[in-house]
């Protein structure tokens, strides 16, 4: 099979091959919506909110305006504990732009306590100073909040989650 496609060499890429550059600058201002606005306001006040669906009898986090299952409105907001369980985690040695980090940051899915499906929670970070040998799936964690004056109603109002278990 004769397949076509001209492979660019590194030298051509750096020195000789013509290309046109473009630096888009686009700025967005996203509405945070009905449910996530409440969630972010909750974070500003040091609280994690979820929503309860009457029809499905379940509490979920992050909160939503409607239940994706029964498709009815979900307008009963509940305050959940700021603790949870590590559903999964990674030791990330690459930054968002794929450049390398010396010290890993630890993204994790936190299954928030008080929800009724598993997992039900959100993406966040674990304290990057914990020993890598110590951290395990299933460990209990607790939110470490920014000082009240520094909270702005953003997911980063929680600095990270710390391990609750010492063993």
């Amino acid at each position: 099979m004769d397949v076509r496609g001209k492979r660019l060499t590194l030298d051509e890429f750096m020195n000789t091959e013509l290309s046109v550059k473009h630096y888009p600058e686009m700025e967005y201002n996203w509405a945070t919506g009905v449910a996530i606005t409440k969630f972010l306001k909750g974070l500003k006040n040091g609280k994690i909110l979820g929503t309860y669906c009457n029809d499905c009898d379940r509490t979920v986090c992050p909160p939503r305006m409607f239940c994706e299952e029964c498709f009815n409105p979900m307008n009963h907001y509940v305050k959940l504990p700021d603790t949870g369980v590590i559903n999964t985690f990674s030791l990330a040695f690459i930054r968002t732009d794929a450049t390398r980090r010396e010290k890993a940051e630890i993204p994790a899915v936190i299954d928030i306590d008080g929800t009724s499906i598993s997992p039900s929670g959100f993406l966040h970070l674990i304290d990057e100073d914990v020993s890598h040998d110590k951290i395990k799936i299933g460990m209990k964690v607790k939110a470490v909040w920014k000082d009240e004056k520094d909270r702005i109603g953003d997911i980063t109002d929680i600095k990270f989650f710390e391990l609750l278990e010492d063993d």
Binding site: M1, R7, W30, P119, L123, L125, I137
Partner: protein, 399 residues
């Protein structure tokens, strides 16, 4: 449901490169022209064109189906683009199928294309836009994070050793040596995969497929047109079953150890093909081989389980034991997959769909599976880890 029988009669592929000199439209032209030539028809014979391409952010060209239209043979013809992220390369031939099965068109071109090298300094910047814009992007995520998180959960749930997962990289990158489009066909050792650079534990460099530029096309048509053009049944692969399914973008509210949406898509396709028994042993006999989506090595295994081809947690050991080797009991990804041939998103799964055609018509060259190859399955996956697309083709002389 009454629908017309639809046959795939040719495929066209470009070479997959880290950076191709051609524009996306020129790449689409290569694969589309090759598919027309292989089918022995011309652009005039096409009634419609389907274009598959993933996020516009990679090209920096908005509405890129419009841009790709004339490169895909769609000039002044009914053209449409379907887009389900990485799932696109299997979804596009599904769209080709329903365009023809419905009676809307008799002959269609399906072209999947991706050029990922345009975005600087790497495709990561484009991937970032798939994360939730309100509560995830402020954390500074990287696409590899979510794969690492899912892989970790999968390994933990079933107690899977990394060696078993790494064996998929060895197999697929090795298989790709025999694929003419491949950019990373090579015999790696298990230790080389296990000891490659750590990115996001448990994900290492050789667990991941290389980003690429490339295009893949198909010509699909009705049985009547196949007769009219005098195309031999030996050069046809019939669409036997299709399925697709989408989960929520709230991926942190999902069991990450098992892709339920892939199961649902697969069962839709099996049922359409008349295969009602979904037990792994029966399905592995019914199918000659499978091409599940393998952007990361564990994904091939995760998907084999979602496809019901192995029981939950059992695909890794089977792969490690050689069951899924090209000469194994149930060959999986004989093409070399995304891990070996390369991952130009929509075209990558397009390449997997093309492998069904090439194997079923005996045109897979050095990759050709031995024995009777009667039926194959391709599956792709994408969006924010939430979509499953499934295509089953059978040989031209199979009833």
């Amino acid at each position: 449901m009454s629908s017309k029988k639809v046959g795939m009669v040719s495929v066209g592929l470009t070479r997959f490169n880290r950076r191709s000199k051609e524009t996306p439209k020129e790449l689409a032209y290569y694969s589309s022209k090759m598919a027309l030539d292989e089918a022995g028809i011309t652009r005039k014979d096409l009634d419609g064109v389907i274009i598959g391409s993933a996020p516009d952010a990679f090209d920096g060209v908005h509405q890129k189906h419009e841009y790709l239209t004339d490169g895909s043979g769609g000039f002044n013809k009914p053209t449409m683009r379907g887009y389900v992220g990485g799932g696109t390369g299997v979804f596009s031939p599904i769209q080709g199928w329903y365009s023809v099965a419905s009676g809307v068109h008799d002959v269609v071109m399906v072209t999947t294309e991706e050029k990922m090298s345009s975005i600087q300094p790497s495709a990561q910047a484009g991937f970032l836009t798939i994360f939730d814009n309100l509560i995830e992007r402020p954390l500074g995520p990287n696409l590899v994070w979510i794969f690492a998180l899912e892989m970790k959960r999968y390994m933990e749930t079933y107690g899977i050793p990394k060696e078993h997962i790494a064996s998929v990289s060895v197999k697929n990158k090795g298989n790709a040596i025999d694929h003419p489009s491949a950019m990373l066909g090579k015999n790696f050792t298990l230790d080389e995969v296990l000891n490659s650079e750590i990115l996001c534990d448990p994900v290492r460099l050789l667990d991941i497929s290389p980003v690429a530029d490339g295009a893949v096309s198909f010509v699909m048509m009705t049985e009547e047109k196949i007769k009219e053009f005098g195309i031999s049944k030996d050069d046809v692969a019939w669409v036997d079953g299709v399925g697709w399914n989408v989960d929520t973008t709230m991926w942190t509210n999902r069991d990450l150890s098992y892709p339920k949406y892939v199961e649902k898509a697969a069962k839709q396709a099996y049922n359409m093909a008349g295969q009602k028994d979904h037990s792994p042993e029966v399905l592995r006999k019914w199918l000659s081989f499978a091409e599940p989506y393998d952007p990361f090595n564990y994904k091939e295994l995760h998907h084999l389980e979602g496809l019901q081809l192995f029981a939950k947690g059992e695909a890794p050991k089977a792969a490690f034991d050689g069951v899924t080797a090209r000469d194994g009991d149930f060959p999986v990804t004989p093409s070399g997959g995304l891990l070996g041939v390369g991952n130009p998103i929509a075209a990558a799964a397009g390449m997997k769909s093309a492998e069904l055609y090439l194997q079923l018509t005996g045109k897979a060259g050095k990759r050709q599976l031995s024995g009777d190859v009667t039926r194959g399955l391709a599956q792709a996956w994408g969006d924010l880890m939430q979509v499953g697309t499934v295509l089953i083709l059978k040989g031209g002389r199979v009833d």
